[in-house]
């Protein structure tokens, strides 16, 4: 798994490529929490993620709590159907704003 953090207009993109599983989730957590500061605007680009284990789901939960506590905004971009299904089945999906593209994600953050 590879994680790149880069700016996109007035937001920060965390681009994740590869599988998020028990061995890689801690690294993802580290990268995400580093940028999940109060007032942040985050786009988590997961269009390059084919598989996300329950450890990844737990990273998402912690991100959600951190963002909510710090009054920031986050959108998940490019979720695969499989990951969407998993998040939906565990009740996580409704906590997050989702979008197909970075532009749509930015628009969603602006609306949110």
């Amino acid at each position: 798994m590879d994680v790149q953090v880069k700016p996109f207009q007035d937001a920060t993109v965390v681009e994740v490529v590869g599988d998020v599983d028990g061995s890689t989730a801690p690294m993802l957590q580290e990268h995400i929490l580093a940028v999940a500061q109060p007032g942040c605007r985050l786009l988590i680009d997961m269009s390059g993620v084919g598989f996300m284990s329950s450890a990844g789901l737990r990273v998402m939960l912690i991100l959600h709590r951190t963002i909510s506590g710090g009054k920031g905004h986050v959108a998940l971009v490019g979720l695969s159907d499989d990951i969407k299904d998993t998040m939906s089945a565990t009740g996580f999906l409704k906590f997050f704003t989702t979008a197909e593209t970075l532009e749509a994600g930015l628009q969603a953050l602006n609306n949110g």
Partner: protein
């Protein structure tokens, strides 16, 4: 230092002599020290009353009540105007736990049953405005004011919901009142719908710390929000998440509860258990579920009383009672063997060691605990080891529990005023006679529960008269001072002298610590031990199983793990009609095959 000033305090003890002319009374404390108190024209007295009972004035009956052997709590003022080094103690008020030297109101057959009903109704009203409104756990809040009002927060902690569910389920088992079962079942459903994380990958369950609700929105809190446990998944919270559902399962047999329990036990086995060195770790990392993760900091690779021992009282004994599954008996035995092997430290302290590193070396640096002992944990061990004797007798369990029962009155009990202390230093320093109280000398409600239950069951099992006396004194103090006759349920703390302490979190009826669990657990088990083991009186228990719920249609009705052969079923009614398909000695009822739920009343009698 000379105490050359007046001060007020309480003396708890037994009347040895009443001088009608002098209007004075001599009182001998629990450990046999005698004090003389003077009655004044303003002295007033009451007999302890149960919740929802009227004040029972005894001011006009003092001469009758102050007979030798009568236990009394005398509150008054010490005046240093007597002979040098002595005091005059003028009594301002008195509480009698009963109407005569051998009469204790808390030993009445229905005392604890009335109390659990009252506490249960208080929490139904406070949390849900029941019976005016429907029971709806969306309205549940962890924090409640002294009088039960909500504090305006939006937190629903999993373990406090579960603890209240435990209280409601216990109240149903004892009273058969359907509102309590409704509360227990709706709470269990709420936990399943909102607090449960089913990990499809690992095929197990863990429970959220809680949810923060706002209208229809809710935020899941995966990791603990508490300072000691922050950003981890503590075993303690997972253990207590099962407490309420499992107690509910005993009454209704809902197979979904059993499935949740099995998958949570799987979590313990997979991620908390130390298969190599024994016991269970206290915390795991929320992402990797690793107990040795560096992120856990001060909680990394630790074991403690909660993670090792709390399985038994919180859910495991009840899970075994409901299922009689041998694997839970083995789990219990392993738990008590570990406690017996690892916690005793009598070369160094009269208190158990309850914080450990991975290799069982002592952790005496942990946050607030340092080298300190929790009185209630020691008593809890004695109580639960004695319960376990009913399942598998071991001399080592008997020796350990008797050791605790012998030591605690010397170091954890207030022999001057009654009641059990809180957290104390495990060792005394040179020149000290008393173990130092860490923060205060107040007494918490849940530690009183441990003392009452420990000595009740130990008297019931070992028939030692000393245990009977300590059980009586423990229950008398609790029922004299902890019941909130103004607003309902019980106070969190009393001062050393018995007066309620009502500041900060300790003013609350609902908090991280208090939610109707210990107070109702105490009622349930004190009723069981007092009636069935000690006073030898019949008790009724109520169940309402779902059709085709319990395995093989067998309902296990034993109220707790009691000595084998000590109780049996006398009679059974189903929906008010006599029913005969039961095994009296085995304490089982063969459930009828029905399409609807039936209500079962079981009368259990001592053998």
């Amino acid at each position: 230092m000379k105490i050359d000033f007046t001060f007020s305090d309480t003396i708890a003890g037994y009347v040895t002599h009443f001088n009608r002319v002098e209007r004075s009374v001599k009182i001998s404390t629990s450990d046999g020290r005698e004090f003389k108190g003077i009655l004044t024209p303003a002295t007033y007295a009451r007999i302890a009353q149960n919740l929802e009972e009227p004040y029972a004035d005894a001011t006009g009956r003092l001469a009758e009540l102050l007979t030798p052997g009568q236990l009394v709590y005398a509150y008054g003022v010490f005046y240093p105007d007597a002979a040098e080094g002595d005091y005059t103690f003028e009594i301002k008020s008195m509480v009698f736990p009963g109407n005569g030297p051998s009469v204790y109101r808390h030993e009445e057959q229905d005392w604890w049953i009335k109390q659990i009903r009252s506490i249960g109704h208080s929490y139904l009203k406070w949390q849900f405005n029941h019976p005016k409104d429907e029971i709806d756990f969306r309205n549940y809040r962890t924090f409640l004011h002294l009088a039960g009002g909500k504090k305006g927060d939006f937190l629903q902690e999993t373990d406090t919901v579960s603890r209240l569910v435990f209280g409601f389920a216990s109240a149903f088992l004892l009273t058969g009142e359907d509102a309590f079962l409704e509360g227990a079942e709706k709470g269990t459903q709420y936990l399943r719908d909102h607090m449960r994380f089913f990990d499809a990958e690992e095929q197990l369950i863990y429970w959220y710390h809680g949810v923060q609700v706002s209208g229809d929105q809710e935020q899941k809190l995966l990791t603990s929000e508490f300072g000691d446990d922050y950003d981890s998944i503590p075993a303690y919270e997972q253990i207590y998440a099962l407490a309420g559902p499992i107690q509910t399962y005993r009454a209704n047999g809902d197979p979904r509860i059993l499935a949740d329990a099995e998958l949570t036990v799987k979590l313990f086995d997979r991620f908390y258990k130390d298969a190599e060195k024994g016991g269970y770790f206290s915390h795991i990392d929320p992402i990797t579920l690793d107990p040795r993760a560096e992120s856990l900091q001060h909680n990394r690779a630790k074991k403690n009383w909660n993670s090792v021992g709390d399985h038994a009282p919180a859910y495991l004994i009840n899970l075994y009672i409901a299922t009689h599954d041998p694997k839970y008996a083995d789990f219990l035995e392993d738990t008590f063997d570990t406690i017996t092997e690892r916690f005793q430290d009598y070369d160094n302290s009269p208190f158990v060691q309850e914080k450990f590193y991975e290799d069982w070396s002592y952790d005496q640096t942990y946050l607030w605990q340092q080298n300190r002992g929790v009185v209630g944990h020691n008593l809890k061990i004695a109580w639960n080891l004695t319960r376990m004797q009913g399942l598998k007798w071991k001399d080592s369990y008997a020796e350990f529990s008797k050791k605790i029962a012998g030591l605690m009155p010397q170091v954890g009990m207030d022999i001057q005023r009654g009641g059990w202390y809180d957290v104390v230093e495990r060792t005394v320093q040179p020149g000290q006679r008393f173990h130092r109280y860490v923060w205060h000398d107040r007494k918490a409600w849940w530690q009183q529960e441990q003392g009452i239950l420990a000595y009740l069951i130990m008297y019931g099992v070992y028939k030692d008269e000393e245990y009977k006396r300590l059980a009586r004194e423990s229950a008398a103090y609790y029922n004299s001072f902890f019941l909130d006759h103004d607003d309902g349920a019980v106070y969190f703390n009393t001062l050393a002298n018995g007066l309620p302490y009502l500041l900060g979190n300790e003013r609350l009826k609902g908090s991280h610590s208090m939610s109707g669990y210990h107070s109702m657990e105490l009622c349930y088990l004190a009723a069981v031990y007092q009636n069935l083991l000690i006073s030898k009186r019949a008790m009724d228990f109520y169940f309402k199983p779902y059709p085709k719920s319990f395995k093989d249609g067998i309902l296990h009705v034993e109220p707790d793990i009691l000595p084998p052969g000590s109780i049996c079923i006398e009679s059974v009614e189903i929906d008010g009609k006599p029913y005969t398909d039961f095994d009296s000695a085995a304490l089982t009822v063969k459930l009828p095959e029905t399409e609807e739920r039936v209500k079962i009343k079981v009368r259990i009698v001592p053998v």
